[in-house]
Symmetry: C4
């Protein structure tokens, strides 16, 4: 287990670059109407290349309760993979334990985003997965967006619910029941993209179903769209 009390010198530049990226990416959340007030958070893993096991990786994340207008790179905090604060003037986001759990258990994940975006949260409140009835959904999610279990903050149950649900799915997004979406990606930008598209398909499929049933897309078409898109954009 990590017991770092400061950012190691060999990770300094990588951490600072990640802070700049993550501060800028937070601006995408209100821009695309995914959050209100100080809700929502973006994190990015900083890999410790020197450590073959990944146990000394760090991640940068939004501090708790800070207005989106005040999210400079200097305000972003650094944690180890147990969620302990390594650097920063403020407490890390109250969702830090969930981000840390995802990084510890899914090695390919380099970025995590959590929002309470309205339409995705509405599906989550019913505990209902979003069916794959749009080509852009087949492209990005490769099928339905699944629902994770009800879990409350305070232990590893949110992180465990995210990881267990995403392991059985192509989707980079999971709707945690009665809570809201978490998304993952190879880096923070990919996870933000997944959060933006998750809300967009949650809204479009909701609107479509208000006046009838969307036409299903055949599984082989979903597979073909997903394979092509992942190849072009090189995700996962």
């Amino acid at each position: 287990m990590s017991t770092l009390t400061e950012v190691p010198a060999h990770l300094r530049a990588a951490v600072d670059d990640a802070k700049v990226r993550v501060a800028a990416l937070h601006a995408e959340l209100p821009r695309w109407d995914l959050v209100v007030w100080t809700a929502g958070n973006v994190s990015e893993r900083v890999r410790d290349i020197a450590d073959g096991e990944g146990a000394n990786d760090l991640f940068v994340i939004k501090p708790s309760g800070v207005s989106y207008d005040d999210l400079t790179p200097e305000a972003i905090v650094v944690c180890d993979l147990d969620g302990n604060l390594v650097e920063g003037d403020r407490s890390p986001s109250s969702d830090t334990a969930a981000h840390a759990y995802v990084y510890r258990h899914l090695d390919h994940v380099g970025g995590v985003v959590h929002t309470h975006s309205t339409y995705a949260t509405a599906w989550a409140a019913r505990g209902e997965e979003i069916p794959c009835v749009l080509t852009m959904m087949a492209d990005e999610f490769g099928g339905p967006i699944p629902v994770g279990p009800f879990a409350i903050i305070g232990d590893d149950s949110i992180g465990r619910g995210i990881v267990e649900t995403l392991r059985g799915s192509r989707s980079p997004a999971v709707l945690m029941r009665n809570h809201g979406p978490f998304t993952i990606g190879k880096d923070a930008r990919s996870a933000v993209k997944a959060a933006v598209l998750c809300e967009e398909v949650a809204r479009a499929v909701h609107v479509s179903r208000q006046l009838g049933e969307p036409v299903p897309i055949a599984q082989e078409a979903i597979d073909a769209l997903y394979a092509r898109y992942q190849n072009v954009y090189g995700q996962h």
Copy 2:
């Protein structure tokens, strides 16, 4: 009863600080789509520390009919707890009597906000409380958002309806029937936060119910979420 005709010298600095805060907080109302045109108002109490009873407290509030673009600190007016104008070039908001009533009867309240935000007002028009089916709602509101009585402007009936409804609830928000939400907080910023989150949960729960029934959250989970959140953020 207060008969002030000007701001007492020992409250000058506190009043001016409150004007700056309240002017800036008004910009949050159109930012989060809670108001149109000149609707909506934010107030903040200025405590008269020298007076043990609170009878000489003041509050600052938006003037009536002023565009959001023109809400400078100088435009904000000052009233006593009976709602009489103590300082300012314009009439106070036509909702001033309701704000004053809340400050007179709920000593822990330091800020009050009123909006006609769309989804909260839609629940208010049906006279239907918003059920607690989201974890962020359990965090901030500790249960359902209650409905207050129908009351029309012109006497104390709006203020009384707000106070009587909120005394029986953990919620810092009340939906006044056929009218819209009023929210309270330890200061104006907390009350604005409650107004922003009230509209967000009103919208998300509305959207969720359009296509079925949200899954209820067990009362003990609501209680645990509320207790943790109030402890972390130190509200009320």
Copy 3:
């Protein structure tokens, strides 16, 4: 009948002031999401004080097909009350005949606004009046927002439908069937305010009815709210 070929010298200053106001007020239409692209228009009457009958009044209005970004005071055109162009480099809005008809037949009207705002247009497409179930609606509209007849552009039928519908109503807004809202006011600013509030109540009442029936407001409460509000804000 007017046969002006230029703005009379004694109205020069009043016309130029109206152009400045109307150019600025057009920015309120996209700001409050009432229009897309180049749709929507605002006009304001310039009274010919020297003429007791009003037959030589003018009005200023948006030109046809101009982007909201290009609506400077210089771009605003001037028409007589028959809708003939008196001054301007471009054609007046294709809705000019309807504005002119309203000014000719309702002498107390100083401003007219037309939009295709989404929710008001949705009620108009069903030919259904908006019931008065919100206190802000009682304040501003004094009752339901009525529906005018189906009428197509090309003669006076739109103007006549507006005037006949509004003569039988307290409301400064009418929903022209399958078309959209027209609003009036003592000046352009009042008519823009009515357009903004018309869309807001159209949206809030729509949302409320999606999940049940709003509670009616008693007629005497509507009357009391309307009387107070018109007195305070001095409209009509």
Copy 4:
């Protein structure tokens, strides 16, 4: 068949002008909420006047995966009518083959736009045309907005579906099933206008139908409105 490897000298100025226009028009897509993230694309044909057959026409289009903030004229790429890249540092949009097919088969088309705008996409997911129940829809679309077939990216099936559907319709917009809208125009600006109005009528008719049935407009009124509007604005 074109085998160009660079922009011919006699088209240089026309291509550069088109890049400026198309870069600026892309900003209209997020402005009117038609796209999220990097979705959506606008193209414009550059006619090779010297070539009577049109086989040497080019078109300019958005590159793939570029943020809307980075869409300068220099970033816009140039393709021939087979969709091959003629000039540009990046790959053309993944929808380029569909744009190229439209230009090859519909000679009067000078601009093409594709979005995933929410309400239009919701109708597309149900495979349901939008009925013509608004006067602005009669003006711009001359009747219902039709649905094209399900088609997946990778061959000419999207382009063929667009062309076959629009040949049988007055509408400049087609809803490709489970996918989203494509619009055409005499130039890129006209196609963007059609995309903006397509989403607006998709939303207004959706909202109207949520609470009942819109009143139909008689065919002769639709024909009259369409004839007048096309004459005034000179489209097609």
